[in-house]
């Protein structure tokens, strides 16, 4: 078993005595697609930001425990390498798109890695094509639809080929078509993925394994097929009643049923 990510005893607080994460431990195997679910304020986004070293922002911040990416400890000395390995897709696409054109935004990662102009252009083209946006290089990000923005953000990560993708609420704010397109793209990606979401249908479709987070505590973990069918557990943690809310075929979908 090769681990892509390993989190051991991770605790974090933004301000003294206001814990956001409490002693979390879990591991993600290479190629696995893991879901992190939980109510608002559970600490999902905060956890994801630890996976590529965005948090803690200050060395003196209240953090303890460790995060390892392919066995290497996430810390200031490894930060460049860690960010190269772990791409983060943020919830609000507008936070992530800061360049005047789509092409420049997607090229931001490869440019930092010192590739030649021709190689950068090739990578940008390939990344945009893989998210179904070929030919969008000269478009202005702010004028795209929500779904297109999200896919440009994803292309911006794929362009520098991280080995792990961390996605924060990837389907939030998307219309059904945009959501479906994103799910299909994510299902095709052959890399390790960690997805924080409230969208239990997406979780059932993509993620064989799930973690349930509430109040910064890991309250349950295991195969999605078992957790999503446990209505008592789901409703106790603000996640509704999947066996009633989700179509039955989703709870029997290959991802939800194929947990190791």
């Amino acid at each position: 078993m090769t681990l892509a990510l390993s989190v051991q005893g991770l605790s974090f607080e933004f301000a003294p005595s206001i814990p956001v994460l409490r002693s979390l431990s879990f591991a993600v195997e290479v190629g696995q697609c893991l879901a992190v679910i939980g109510p608002n304020g559970a600490g999902k986004s905060t956890l994801l930001m630890h996976l590529n070293g965005i948090l803690p922002e200050h060395p003196r911040a209240g953090a303890s425990g460790s995060v390892r990416v392919h066995g290497r400890l996430v810390g200031p000395s490894e930060i460049g390498w860690v960010r190269r390995q772990v791409g983060v897709l943020f919830q609000d696409a507008d936070d992530q798109l800061f360049c005047p054109t789509v092409g420049e935004d997607v090229a931001y990662g490869p440019e930092q890695l010192g590739y030649s102009r021709a190689e950068i252009e090739q990578r940008v083209g390939r990344a945009l094509e893989s998210v179904g946006l070929a030919g969008f290089e000269r478009r202005v990000p702010q004028r795209l639809s929500g779904g297109e923005k999200k896919r440009v953000c994803l292309a911006g990560l794929l362009a520098y080929e991280p080995s792990i993708l961390v996605l924060d609420e990837p389907s939030a704010g998307l219309d059904p078509r945009g959501r479906r397109e994103l799910i299909e793209i994510l299902a095709r990606l052959p890399i390790t993925r960690v997805i924080a979401s409230h969208d239990l249908a997406l979780v059932a479709e993509l993620c064989p394994q799930t973690l349930v987070l509430d109040g910064g505590v890991l309250v349950a973990s295991g195969p999605s097929k078992d957790l999503l069918r446990d209505d008592a557990l789901m409703s106790a943690h603000g996640l509704g009643c999947p066996s009633r809310d989700l179509p039955a075929h989703l709870l029997l979908s290959p991802a939800a049923s194929d947990g190791p």
């Binding site: 930001m49 791409g87 983060v88 936070d95 931001y108 440019e111 702010q142």
Partner: protein, 191 residues
């Protein structure tokens, strides 16, 4: 919470305004005398247990503007002394204002301003500014984190370029947010 924090907002506001008015009417040739107030203001900041780093940092942020304004006096006769005096007075005003806002909650400050019959429109503008500056800083923080997530090397040039783009975008987002807020206000009967 210090005794300065607990003092009535109206009293603090009145004292600050009187102090600034006093500085404004001080003759130009005696401007540098105003500097005797500096140790008093710094002592008050210490008494209020404000972080010296935060006080000096915020004070320094305003300095380029003050220097710009004071440098206009350089074009007059004895402009050097005039500019120096103007700079000293405005820096003291800034410090006293900083003391006021750091030790008084914005809601109490607004209540005191209303009691002083400040025009309603101005009070509302200040309230909106306070409300949206926290939203804006939150937005800036999220953008900084998203940028950090894709910062793979420590190239300063790239970092400055990305920061410039983000600031431009933040400005555009601020304008569009202001438009949405105005539409929401109008939809509830505002002007």
């Amino acid at each position: 919470m210090s005794c300065i924090h607990r003092a009535p907002a109206g009293l603090k506001l009145g004292l600050s305004l009187t102090f600034m008015l006093g500085l404004a009417v001080l003759p130009a040739r005696d401007s540098l005398w105003a500097l005797v107030a500096l140790p008093v203001l710094l002592s008050l900041a210490m008494l209020a247990r404000l972080s010296p780093r935060a006080v000096l940092g915020r004070w320094a942020l305003g300095m380029p503007l003050l220097l710009g304004a004071a440098s206009l006096a350089l074009f007059q006769t004895h402009g050097g002394w005039l500019a120096l005096g103007l700079f000293a007075k405005s820096a003291l005003c800034l410090l006293s204002l900083q003391l006021l806002v750091s030790t008084t909650p914005i809601t109490e400050l607004l209540r005191a301003l209303r009691r002083m019959h400040l025009p309603q429109l101005l009070c509302e503008t200040i309230a909106l500014l306070a409300r949206y500056s926290s939203l804006l800083s939150d937005e800036a923080r999220r953008m900084r984190r998203a940028r950090a997530g894709r910062t793979l090397t420590a190239s300063r040039l790239q970092a400055w370029w990305a920061l410039g783009n983000s600031l431009g975008l933040l400005f555009i987002r601020t304008v569009s947010r202001a438009e949405r807020v105005q539409v929401a206000m109008r939809s509830r009967g505002g002007v």
